[in-house]
């Protein structure tokens, strides 16, 4: 072999190096391209006209991006990854209705195998998406039908770190065994749990769904960002906007909108809404929402308020075709009773009529004062503006009230009865296993409690008082007429009536309310034990859960364990165990129980009252459609 000259050797070396580097680049490009291929077993993030996703917003709005990133809006729907799923899901072993479920992990992917009764484990189904992140997490499985998803029948309760059947995480009749159906995520959940989702029904039960972004991202509230980005590449334009008070017309800023339009940006999801007609439903399904923040109405949809005159034809149609639609969402007078639909309450509030009041009167979607709270606390406390967890929220407008607070409330200034929220936004909505404040600003009213069953603010705190007591005080203080009252309303505490003979929604509210510290301080704790222990055997899982959690707030029971999803025998055994513990170890033998509590001197239910109220229970099926 002839010896190569020095220069040729160098040349050969250079060519070899270039060839090697080119080869490595090609391999990298191939891998990048392969990794960039969208998965075919779940809905995908896709280029939807005008939408650019939060990554594009980040460069120019780092602070807003960071506070949004800390919020639970971002994580409303996430692709299933080790970070987004509950820990130890690969070690999961659960059983429900004769079926067994087993989790397994392969790399960064998670799968579930199902074994029917008497059979063997089937093919693994990948967990592809997860909905929710701070209260409940619901997992979605591939179905083998493209982007169509099926729901994993258990939900993860984040605070308790436990798995529970999904139907037992809602106020739902015990007879309902499986709530979600194949394609439910595509046909319903994605309407609000993603940014600009397009369900795209194909045929049969098959969907080809795509989204602009998983979770509720920037463009859900600010509308699509393409034009905004393109036009603001020009620095002169940007500085013109910075140096004037004019708003940028290429993007919507809900903070600069009038109250109704601003609130509707939130209300596009946080409301009970329905489609105008079938054509609009089909259009929404194919192309996504036509509503853009800043709009005056929801375009293909409308906000359903039971008692307003708008959309009468559509509401009649709903009444004819879905008999329980209104009952599952509203109190009898049209006030919303489920959580997550706060816009219905806001819109029906007297404050809303002024045209300035909106969600961002009290909430902020970006942490504007980072010094006030860390992002996690802010996100966990409803993204409230600084001090908006106090009377300041109402005093923004009702300025004169601070000077005559005690005269108005008839409670001492430091009493929980002098807090605006407690009287005017009591916890009469329910969802995600807990009671939440009504967002319809109202005043306590006994007549409404009698007519519609909605607990009034006074008796949600004064749990041991009767409706008659409340009616007399409201008459004396605010000249409210005293309604006609039954004998029970005069002699038995309203909360006792609601938890024994109320419907499941009322029982859930009271079971939660008995754990509320302010109510315990006001109404005493000793008499709550038997009612909460009894609530642990309720036929509705949500009531059992809240009765247990409230019991844990009482002295002696903070570590009391209870499986609220267990079979009836186990529930009764746990309740017996709790009652024995209370009676023999915890109960104050000197405690005096007011007659209104229907507890006799030795701490037992007054049997005649208890049995009668129990037999009068409102057993109509309740399904609070959160």
């Amino acid at each position: 072999m002839p010896k190569l000259s020095r220069s040729r050797r160098h040349g050969l070396l250079v060519i070899t190096a270039i060839a090697g580097a080119s080869g490595l680049t090609l391999i990298s490009l191939y891998n990048f391209h392969r990794a960039a291929q969208p998965p075919d077993n779940r809905p995908i993030k896709s280029q939807i006209a005008g939408y650019v996703s939060s990554n594009a917003c980040r460069a120019c709005h780092p602070g807003n991006y960071a506070s949004w990133h800390a919020s639970f809006h971002r994580t409303m729907t996430q692709v299933a990854t080790p970070n987004s799923l509950p820990n130890d899901i690969d070690k999961l072993e659960l059983a429900l209705h004769g079926r067994e479920y087993k989790g397994e992990r392969r790399g960064d992917k998670f799968f579930v195998r199902t074994r029917p009764e008497g059979g063997s484990y089937g093919e693994p189904q990948q967990v592809v998406l997860v909905t929710g992140s701070h209260n409940l997490q619901i997992l979605w499985l591939e179905t083998g039908e493209g982007h169509t998803l099926h729901q994993f029948p258990f939900a993860y309760i984040v605070a308790e770190k436990i798995w529970a059947p999904v139907n037992e995480t809602f106020v739902m009749p015990p007879s309902v065994k499986e709530y979600y159906f194949v394609g439910a995520w595509n046909g319903a959940c994605m309407d609000c749990h993603v940014t600009q989702g397009q369900s795209r029904f194909v045929a049969g039960n098959k969907w080809d769904s795509q989204v602009a972004e998983f979770g509720i991202a920037c463009e859900a509230c600010h509308s699509e960002g393409w034009e905004h980005i393109e036009r603001n590449r020009n620095p002169v334009r940007r500085f013109k906007i910075h140096l004037t008070t004019k708003s940028d017309q290429t993007v919507t800023n809900p903070a600069r909108l009038k109250g109704p339009e601003s609130a509707l940006a939130c209300g596009q999801c946080h409301s009970v809404w329905a489609f105008n007609d079938m054509m609009d439903k089909i259009d929404f399904n194919r192309h996504g929402a036509a509503f853009r923040p800043g709009g005056h109405d929801l375009a293909q949809r409308f906000v359903v308020q039971p008692n307003t005159s708008d959309h009468a034809e559509q509401k009649d149609f709903i009444r004819r075709t879905e008999r329980d639609f209104f009952q599952n969402r509203f109190w009898g007078d049209g006030m919303i009773r489920v959580t997550g639909r706060e816009f219905n309450g806001v819109q029906a509030s007297p404050c809303f009529r002024g045209g300035e009041f909106s969600c961002i009167s009290c909430h902020e979607m970006h942490l504007d004062s980072p010094g006030q709270a860390d992002a996690k606390t802010w996100a966990r406390t409803g993204q409230l503006k600084p001090k908006m967890d106090s009377d300041t929220a109402c005093l923004q407008c009702h300025k004169d009230m601070s000077a005559r607070l005690v005269a108005h409330t008839h409670h001492t200034a430091d009493s929980s009865g002098s807090r605006c929220y407690n009287c005017h936004m009591p916890r009469t909505t329910f969802g995600l296993l807990h009671a939440m404040r009504s967002h319809q600003v109202s005043s306590p009213n006994v007549q409404e409690s009698i007519a519609y069953g909605r607990p009034n603010a006074c008796n949600l705190c004064h749990l041991n008082q009767t409706l008659a007591w409340t009616a007399q005080n409201l008459h004396a203080w605010y000249n409210q007429p005293v309604p006609e009252l039954s004998q029970d309303d005069r002699t038995i505490a309203a909360a006792v009536q609601w938890i024994l003979k109320g419907d499941a929604g009322q029982r859930a509210l009271i079971a939660w309310g008995m754990g509320w510290e302010s109510a315990q301080k006001t109404a005493g704790r000793d008499w709550l034990y038997p009612y909460l222990i009894y609530g642990m055997t309720d036929s509705y899982a949500a009531v059992r859960f809240d009765a247990w959690k409230s019991l844990q707030t009482l002295p002696g029971f903070s570590d009391f364990s209870f499986t609220y999803t267990a079979a009836d025998d186990s529930l009764r055994e746990a309740a017996t165990r709790a009652y024995e513990k209370w009676l023999r170890q915890v109960r104050d033998v000197n405690a005096v129980y007011r007659p209104e509590t229907a507890i006799d001197a030795d701490g037992r239910f007054q049997q005649d009252v208890f049995q009668r109220l129990r037999s009068e229970r409102d057993n109509k099926p309740i399904f609070l459609a959160e």
Binding site: C60, H61, P62, G63, A66, P235, H242, P370
Partner: protein, 148 residues
């Protein structure tokens, strides 16, 4: 006797001026670096919060450019003094000093008031400083090349 204009400064004095300016400027911008470290050390939100990312970037750029341009002025002064047959032109000496003022000052002022991802108006000083720097560096390079 009339006072000579700056333009008429002898060659070595012009080089000395850049040297003096360079060292003082180095002191200023190293001090700024220490101040920024202090803001970091006490985690001052006005500087370290993620919403103030642009301010942090601007101040960091002011510190880096100020320090670097101080060194460039020193290098120019030393070049003017030590390279035979080479003298710093008055315009180059002037441009180098003003570049070393305007560039970091633009970044610094741009960081005081920010608009999300955009710096404040002060940042418009930066391109002026950049042009002066570009002119002076190019001029020195050309003049040095001509010596051969």
């Amino acid at each position: 006797m009339t006072r000579p204009s700056k333009r008429a400064l002898p060659v070595t004095q012009r080089a000395d001026r850049n040297l003096r300016f360079g060292w003082w400027s180095l002191l200023v911008f190293l001090s700024l670096g220490a101040a920024l470290e202090t803001l970091h050390g006490f985690k001052i939100g006005w500087y370290v919060d993620v919403g103030n990312e642009t301010r942090r970037l601007m101040f960091t750029l002011a510190h880096a450019h100020g320090t670097l341009l101080a060194l460039v002025n020193i290098a120019a002064g030393l070049t003017g003094r030590n390279v035979d047959r080479f003298s710093l032109r008055p315009s180059v000496s002037f441009a180098l000093i003003w570049a070393a003022i305007l560039l970091p000052a633009g970044f610094f002022l741009g960081g005081i008031v920010i608009y999300d991802g955009d710096p404040g108006l002060g940042v418009w000083l930066v391109p002026i400083g950049a042009l002066l720097l570009f002119y002076s560096v190019a001029r020195v390079a050309i003049d040095l090349s001509k010596l051969n």
